[in-house]
């Protein structure tokens, strides 16, 4: 039940971000869906004891894969679907804690939080990049196999 609530709320949050970033009106729903899927993956993984950094990586990976699928279906840049989707994963809380500690003159603790926020950002970024490479490889393989089948068909006929 908790997961369903999280899914619905992250859907609304991401769709609102779609409005702020002004995505094309007919893709509001899909943008929200991308964000909700990514956040749910992240939430389930962290609830099951996975580290935040790894969970962020996997969440971003899933977001980018779904965004790529939609980008190909709608023939629109992939950016439109992924930008709003990654917002919930951004380590706002960590960055806030880092800054609060720095303001309170507790630099060591602040550095610790800051480094963690930096790591999470890096993980999100790597997730996006890995997914992009992965999708490209898959589509290249698909393309190549299609050509091969056509060649075989031609040589048979």
């Amino acid at each position: 039940m908790d997961y369903i609530i999280q899914f619905v709320i992250s859907f609304i949050a991401t769709a609102c971000f779609g409005i702020i970033f002004n995505v094309p009106p007919k893709t509001f729903f899909h943008c929200g869906l991308v964000g909700a899927i990514g956040w749910t993956v992240y939430y389930v993984l962290t609830e099951h004891g996975l580290d935040v950094v790894e969970a962020s990586f996997l969440g971003a990976f899933v977001i980018a894969i779904v965004a790529h699928t939609y980008a190909r279906r709608f023939k629109m840049p992939m950016l439109i679907f992924s930008v709003a989707g990654i917002i919930p994963l951004v380590p706002g809380g960590m960055a806030y804690n880092a800054m609060r500690n720095v303001v309170e003159d507790d630099y060591l603790q602040g550095l610790q939080y800051g480094l963690k926020a930096f790591l999470i950002t890096g993980a999100i970024v790597m997730g996006l990049v890995f997914a992009e490479v992965f999708v490209q490889l898959v589509f290249r393989a698909k393309h190549a196999s299609k050509e091969k089948i056509q060649m075989v068909k031609k040589s048979k006929s």
Binding site: N22, V23, A95, Y96
Partner: protein, 250 residues
């Protein structure tokens, strides 16, 4: 001969306009270059060269052809414009529309404001802030004040963007407003967890597009664009942090 030169000038205008709209709306630099080169190739200019950065574009149609520079000073996030230009370029490269039609369409895209009205955007920001409060495991009784803080912060951002040209200052003021609202709310007993309220209300200001674009540009080999966008994103984050820090240091 003269006619042909004019023709090239027109092509150049059209391509630069497309590139300009894309960069101003926050597209990735490598996509901008790719789009412009594709459009050039569809107009029988196979050796066109393009060099785009977040602050300007240099485009040449070929060795003996004209070259032009356009400089860009403001960048916002408008995904709808990116997708519209993308569809124009798609139709041009598959020869569904002519260059003249494409130019007219691009002109009208540049002029039109596709953003939803301000109050809808502020409402969306407020709603998003409220949702983030729940996602970050805040308590439900803090929800009203988060909605107010998120909405006010975003309204402040829009207002300051309208008044000044310094982007970082408007983000600073917006986060300062959020911090102030949250601080006062705690003081008057309308909220309990100041941390959660501030974090969720600040979320609509997060420079999401800059982070994604910086990395995608870096990975595509556009080191200059990637680094400059990364710097912009870092400065934005810093401005937001500074605004909150002022409140917290009281």
């Amino acid at each position: 001969m003269i006619l042909k030169e004019q023709d090239n000038e027109f092509t150049l205008d059209c391509l630069l306009l497309a590139g300009r709209i894309m960069i101003e709306s926050g597209a990735e630099t490598y996509r901008v270059e790719d789009t412009m080169l594709r459009m050039a190739r569809s107009q029988n200019m196979p050796d066109a060269q393009c060099y785009a950065t977040p602050t300007g574009i240099i485009f040449s149609l070929g060795k003996t052809q004209p070259t032009r520079i356009t400089s860009i000073s403001k960048r916002i996030t408008d995904l709808q414009k990116i997708s519209l230009v993308n569809s124009v370029s798609r139709r041009l490269t598959s020869h569904i529309i002519t260059l003249e039609e494409a130019y007219d369409e691009l002109k009208s895209i540049q002029k039109t404001n596709y953003f939803l009205p301000n109050h809808v955007q502020i409402l969306a920001a407020a709603l998003a802030s409220g949702c983030f409060l729940i996602l970050f495991k805040g308590i439900w009784s803090d929800l009203p004040i988060t909605l107010v803080a998120g909405g006010l912060g975003f309204a402040m951002l829009l207002l300051m963007n309208h008044l000044t040209r310094v982007k970082f200052f408007s983000e600073f003021t917006a986060s300062l407003t959020i911090g102030l609202v949250a601080y006062l709310a705690i003081g008057f007993g309308y909220g309990t967890q100041i941390d959660k309220i501030i974090i969720s209300s600040v979320m609509p200001l997060v420079p999401g597009i800059l982070i994604t674009n910086a990395v995608r540009d870096l990975m595509a080999g556009h080191l200059m664009s990637g680094l400059s966008k990364g710097a912009e994103g870092f400065l934005t984050a810093f401005a937001i942090g500074a605004g909150i820090a002022v409140i917290l240091s009281f």
